[in-house]
């Protein structure tokens, strides 16, 4: 009896779904525009026909939502600014992929149905690696703000061959950061000589940096005395990893991880009474603005980062102000900055190549690839950035140290 009842409900729902499915299939992009991002609506006021459709996906729900939300907000700000200037008009649609390759592929389907012409690809790496072949196949230009793994731009990331050619990165590639950090520590023996590393081994970003750090360290004779790992399911207790580092006599701990676990590591090290130097990478940015974090714990932490929200130049100051207004006082992190830069890099390339909204994504893709491989771009996260034909960015990391709760550039 119950089964019949359940089945009848299910059948009824299927019929509704089927109706929705054919409706979507039949009318193409028109029906899905009702679900576009709030930012998109502002641009409808201007010439709706003349807007270039930018798509993108990232985790807006689930454990990694903080990164996706940052990118979405910053990209919306950039698009609003671009549209307010007149001239080239953008329309942004940002979909949720919950940091899951499966959902990223469906999100790509949604964006394609909508008529995406240029893309911000994905926020995180493994979803990026899952959709990159589709971008290559459908010839849609994509630049990821923060998908930093080589697997986002190469079909064979182990040997760095088979570049997709139309998928670009705005953030540092992981290897670049790892070697730069090792070199920096080697050159500045005062901050430490015996290195311990704590990294997240199920994260492309963290593991990628650690791999090149270790390789470079071996090359240049920097001593790595202890390595501790953690993953998603045990990202809370670091007493063991810190204890091992302490026992191994490490006087500097390298943390190629995001600021959330880093804040826990700093707190727990303090509770243990262990006080080595700490050295972070760009993922560490954001630690000072973490709500409730005792910034005195981060005193003296070094980090290599392309962006700091405390910088005083106009570009950064305006962006930080706009972001805080939009997001209820939250300070933007490097994900947000990379996303903002992506939109402006797309703008620069579109203007230089004379891209118009009536071009197909194919044509735009060819023009964009040509622009990106030849142009230089200056934004929040670096000056004079260039891109290789493989899609990797070249920009130089800046070393900063945290003093009195603020970033201070280290001059050398």
């Amino acid at each position: 009896m119950k089964k019949i009842f359940k089945t009848s409900i299910a059948v009824a729902m299927t019929i509704c779904m089927a109706a929705a499915m054919t409706a979507c299939g039949g009318s193409g992009s028109a029906s899905s525009s009702s679900g576009s991002a709030p930012a998109a609506q502002t641009s409808e006021a201007s010439s709706a026909a003349g807007t270039i459709k930018i798509g993108g996906s990232g985790p807006l729900t689930g454990g990694a939502a903080v990164y996706g939300q940052a990118v979405k907000n910053a990209a919306e700000i950039a698009v609003e600014e671009v549209n307010a200037k007149g001239g080239m008009q953008f329309e942004l649609k940002f979909e949720d992929d919950a940091h899951d390759p499966e959902k990223a592929v469906t999100a790509y389907g949604v964006l394609k149905d909508w008529g995406m012409q240029v893309s911000l690809a994905t926020v995180t790496s493994s979803p990026g690696a899952a959709v990159a072949p589709s971008y290559a196949e459908d010839k849609i230009f994509a630049i990821t703000p923060s998908g930093s793994s080589p697997s986002v731009v190469f079909a064979d990331p182990d040997n760095k061959t088979g570049a997709y050619g139309n998928v670009f990165q705005m953030c540092f590639t992981d290897p670049n950061q790892g070697s730069a950090s090792a070199q920096y520590i080697k050159d500045h023996a005062a901050i430490g000589t015996q290195v311990a590393i704590i990294y997240k081994n199920d994260d492309n970003y963290s593991k990628g940096i650690r791999d090149t750090f270790v390789a470079t360290a071996a090359e240049i004779g920097l001593e790595v005395v202890s390595e501790g790992t953690f993953d998603d399911s045990n990202a809370q207790d670091f007493t063991v990893q810190l204890g091992q580092a302490k026992d191994a006599g490490a006087d500097i701990v390298f943390l190629p991880i995001y600021y959330d676990p880093a804040s826990l590591i700093l707190t727990q090290a303090n509770q243990m009474g262990y006080a080595p130097s700490f050295f972070g990478v760009d993922g560490m940015d954001g630690i000072l603005t973490l709500e409730g974090f005792d910034t005195s714990l981060a005193e003296g932490v070094f980090l290599l980062t392309p962006f700091s929200a405390d910088a005083t130049d106009d570009l950064t100051a305006n962006f930080v102000k706009a972001y805080k207004e939009k997001c209820g006082g939250e300070t933007p992190n490097q994900f947000a900055a990379d996303a903002y830069d992506c939109v402006y890099a797309i703008l620069q390339a579109c203007e230089a190549a004379g891209v118009t909204a009536d071009m197909s994504s194919d044509e735009i893709c060819a023009k964009m690839v040509e622009q990106f491989t030849t142009m230089t771009f200056s934004g929040l996260t670096g000056a004079e950035m260039t891109w290789s034909a493989d899609g990797e960015v070249t920009k130089s990391p800046k070393a900063v140290v945290i003093q009195n709760g603020a970033y201070v550039s280290v001059l050398d």
Partner: protein, 291 residues
């Protein structure tokens, strides 16, 4: 020797698991359901305590009481709205509903308080005492003490009070309890209230030890505590206590001496071995099914 400090850290972690496991095991013992939303009640408790401390500057005890109040109410409301209509339904339907509640709380928290994590203020002074060469933080000691106090109070409550007896009666036989004039629905509500109140205490301890508060923070401790409850024999209160402590110690030792990557696998492997030797957990009762 690092051994001693690992042991005490393990006891600290285990104490948190034990308090969470108590919530699971009580609800299971009386309502015969796996309340998968329990971990998310912990998350809510942590947020409440965080706002009370960091935003409104309430003193620590007030924050804890507030968190307990909110969690208790939440537990009772969830029970009324989502579980009570399913009293006659299959246990699987209730399980799915609990999962739905869990999704709801997680996503609700993300919308209300954003997905970026908040750092729980350190209220217990960050010092440590030295036992030989091992150092133990005050927080760990406080956690272990709290767990013991909670355990004693709960045992007294269950064994000495009238409500406690009624709870025991319900867990033995609901039908017979009803005939004896016990209001079973009220008892189930009280059980949820106590379990959720304990979740609030656990949330404050958890958030003080690992000071990161975010919408999905409850799921992993939830699963581990559920494991701990089964470990000790689900439905058994001393079982949850013992199970929690053992689980915490195994986890820390596995990380320290074998592999940080395999620590979860080792915890679960030990669980399987224990269940093969004692099929109803360490302190669980063997149920003889009659024809």
């Amino acid at each position: 020797m690092q051994f001693l400090s690992y042991l005490i850290n393990g006891l600290g972690l285990g104490s948190v698991y034990a308090i969470i496991a108590l919530g699971y095991t009580m609800v299971y013992g009386i309502a015969k359901m796996l309340n998968f939303a329990h971990g998310d009640v912990i998350m809510i408790g942590a947020y409440i305590a965080f706002f009370a401390l960091a935003r409104f500057g309430f003193p620590f005890p007030v924050a804890v009481l507030l968190a307990m109040l909110v969690c208790t109410t939440l537990g009772v409301v969830i029970e009324r709205l989502a579980y009570k209509p399913l009293r006659q339904a299959t246990s699987l339907s209730v399980l799915i509903t609990a999962i739905g509640v869990s999704y709801f709380l997680q996503n609700g928290a993300q919308i209300l308080w954003s997905s970026s994590s908040k750092v729980f203020p350190s209220v217990i002074s960050a010092g440590s005492i030295h036992l030989g060469s091992a150092s133990v933080s005050y927080l760990t000691i406080l956690t272990i003490l709290t767990c013991i106090v909670v355990m004693i109070c709960l045992t007294l409550f269950i064994n000495k009070t009238k409500t406690g007896s009624a709870m025991r009666a319900c867990s033995e036989d609901k039908g017979a309890s009803m005939l004896m004039g016990i209001n079973v629905n009220r008892i189930i509500s009280i059980t949820f209230a106590i379990g959720s109140g304990l979740a609030a205490i656990a949330s404050v301890l958890l958030a003080s030890t690992y000071p990161s508060v975010y919408p999905t923070m409850g799921s992993m401790p939830g699963i581990k505590a559920f494991t701990a409850a089964v470990f000790g024999g689900i439905g058994s209160i001393p079982g949850a206590f013992v199970g929690g402590l053992i689980l915490g110690i195994i986890e820390i030792f596995a990380k320290a001496y074998i592999s940080t990557q395999l620590s979860d696998a080792i915890v679960f492997a030990v669980l399987i071995i224990i269940l093969l030797i004692k099929p109803t957990g360490l302190l669980g009762k063997k149920i003889n099914v009659k024809v």
